[in-house]
Amino acid sequence: MARVTVETVDHVAALARLSLTDDERRLFARQLDEILAYAESIRALDTADVPPMAHALTAGAFREDVPREGLARDRVLDGAPDAAAGLFRVPRVIGA
């Protein structure tokens, strides 16, 4: 089985855009290792011919594509931590 180390947690935290403290990194490595060890039982089942189930409903997701009014832009921007000129503003991306 996969063993979760602090390095695994660092890799996954970077993928998930989470900056963790040292305490969190060590704690999560230990706890996730335990949880995955528990989850090991399902990997022993014979599932070769079993289709995966992503969802409980299989029909009804489609509708006509009809244009309609969306939320007004200023109402959406009202909730932003920082906005200007009708846009979300974020810290510098290039040349930071």
Binding site: A2, V4, T8, V9, H11, V12, A13, L15, A16, R17, L18, S19, L20, T21, E24, L27, F28, Q31, L32, E34, I35, L36, Y38, A39, E40, S41, I42, R43, L45, T47, V50, P51, P52, M53, A54, H55, A56, L57, G60, A61, F62, R63, L71, R75, V76, D78, G79, A80, P81, D82, F88, V90, P91, R92, V93, A96
Partner: protein, 486 residues
């Protein structure tokens, strides 16, 4: 006369419709009750007293001018803080949503309000509905009204405590792995998780989209049926909302239960269930048997794998859903960050609590390159096996019975250091979400002075049979009339 806070939703609506009671009197009585007991329970994150009294006044005026009383006229309700109400803060029990006021209202809340229900507040919950005790709330831990040293269950623990403590007759919750049924059981109230797709998820903050479902908590099955008739139905704003016709659930309550078959997975129940809890559940099944219900053995061979399956599927979906909290569009931003990637990481690290981070890490891991097939895909396949167990079982019976929770309410702090122990508390509730089927929890007595819940699980879109069985049970017993010693 019993105080107004003891009335059921059906009785409140009847008296309001007959003009024996005003909506304002009803709302004031419940707000007074909140003032009296809330300091000891911490069930609410936000009170909406002025808004509620304003709505009550408007409804009184409408009724006085001869307008007909809708199905929930004047009924005070509490809404789990995972459902959006336009202009009212939604926190989801998290600091990352600080300052967020949604520009829209959840369909479930809109339907309640259109039916004359009056929202008096938003209830506490585990952060992003991740937990079984409300201890993961960023703001406070709700106390169990039966014993303030114990948890109310979770994640809809605030809603369950509010209903049990007579602060409201009805509340909304959401259930991804038992978050309506388990707190309902631990607080001694009725909790219904409808079939996946029955109730619109529009305006419900997403945790695991293939599992999440909105549903009611109430003190009587009749109230649960009335509110279900209001909540259920197709919504074009939710692409997973089902088009299935919604029956009159209150009509279903009056039907016979003689001949209905309940399957009992006997083998499974021998493992890890507290003895008194099992005795209460067996006693409840004996009561139903006296009403003519037939008990049959069923086998659920894959149930023992449900917790592992659930915690792989749910965390994978959560890691994807919670990617949206990035400090850009709403909620909290780590202000000191001068560069975009650092801003994402720091906003999320400061904004999320430990359990949410743990689940994001686990979910991201099981979806990551090299582990996807071994964990996520495997869990999706076992999910199929669990659903097939139900399909097979529900060919030979009309409902399956289990305890809702393997134990009554545990002590505050008892399981916080060991996430896996906390997850195992969900052993009986997660299978319904994986299979997408409806399930109800009914109060069925006490163990050591704490409530025990009987869970009944049914066929997809057959909430009516569960409600019918529940109503028959409540006609034969008085467990649902027990009030916590507050």
């Amino acid at each position: 006369m019993s105080p107004l806070t003891e009335l059921t939703a059906v009785e409140i609506r009847r008296r309001v419709a007959a003009r024996e009671l005003s909506c304002q009197e009803v709302v004031r009585a419940h707000l007074d009750r909140v003032q009296a007991v809330e300091p000891r329970l911490d069930a609410f994150l936000l009170g909406l007293a002025d808004r509620a009294l304003g709505r009550a006044r408007a409804l009184d005026t409408a009724l006085a001018s001869g307008e007909p009383a809708p199905a929930l006229a004047g009924v005070p309700v509490a809404v789990k803080d995972v459902l959006d109400m336009e202009g009212v803060p939604t926190t989801c029990g998290s600091r990352i949503l600080e300052g967020y006021r949604p520009p829209f209202t959840a369909t479930a809340v809109a339907r309640l309000e259109a039916a004359g229900a009056i929202v008096i507040g938003k209830t506490n919950m585990d952060e992003f509905a991740m937990g079984s005790s409300t201890e993961n709330s960023a703001f406070k831990t709700t106390k169990n009204p039966w014993d303030p040293g114990r948890v109310p269950g979770g994640s809809s623990g605030g809603s369950a405590a509010a209903v049990a403590a007579r602060m409201v007759p009805l509340a909304l919750g959401s259930d991804t792995g038992g978050s309506i049924r388990q707190p309902a059981a631990l607080c001694g109230v009725v909790g219904l998780k409808p079939t996946y797709g029955r109730v619109s998820r529009y305006g419900l903050v997403a945790f695991a989209s293939s599992l999440d479902q909105v549903g009611p908590l109430a003190r009587t099955v009749e109230d649960a049926a009335v509110v279900s008739s209001v909540l259920c139905g197709h919504d074009p704003l939710d692409s997973t909302s089902a088009a299935a016709p919604v029956p009159d659930f209150t009509a279903a309550l009056r039907g016979e239960v003689a001949g209905i078959r309940i399957g009992v997975p006997g083998d499974f129940l021998r493992e890890g269930v507290e003895a008194e809890t099992l005795a209460r559940v067996r006693g409840a099944l004996a009561v139903l048997e006296e009403s003519g219900v037939r008990l049959v053995d069923v086998s659920m061979p894959h149930w023992r794998h449900a917790i592992a399956t659930y915690y792989l599927v749910a965390t994978a979906e959560a890691s994807s859903n919670l990617a949206r909290y990035d400090g850009v569009r709403y909620g909290r931003r780590a202000e000191e960050s001068r560069e975009l990637r650092r801003m994402y990481g720091e906003s999320r690290d400061h904004g999320f609590g430990a359990e949410v981070k743990r689940r994001i890490i686990l979910g991201t891991f099981v979806l990551s390159s090299g582990y996807y097939d071994a964990y996520y895909l495997c869990a999706q396949k076992v999910r199929t096996l669990i659903r097939r167990d139900f399909e097979r079982a529900l060919e030979t019976c009309d409902a399956v019975a289990t305890p809702t929770s393997p134990t009554p309410a545990f002590r505050i702090g008892e399981k916080t250091a060991d996430p896996l122990q906390m997850y195992l508390a969900d052993v009986f509730t997660v299978p319904a979400n994986l299979a997408g089927i409806p399930a109800i929890s009914l109060p069925c007595g006490l163990s050591g002075g704490l409530p025990v819940g009987l869970q009944l699980l049914g066929r997809p879109f057959d909430e009516a049979t569960l409600l019918r069985l529940g109503a028959a049970f409540q006609r034969s017993t008085r467990h649902h009339e027990l009030a916590p010693p507050l």
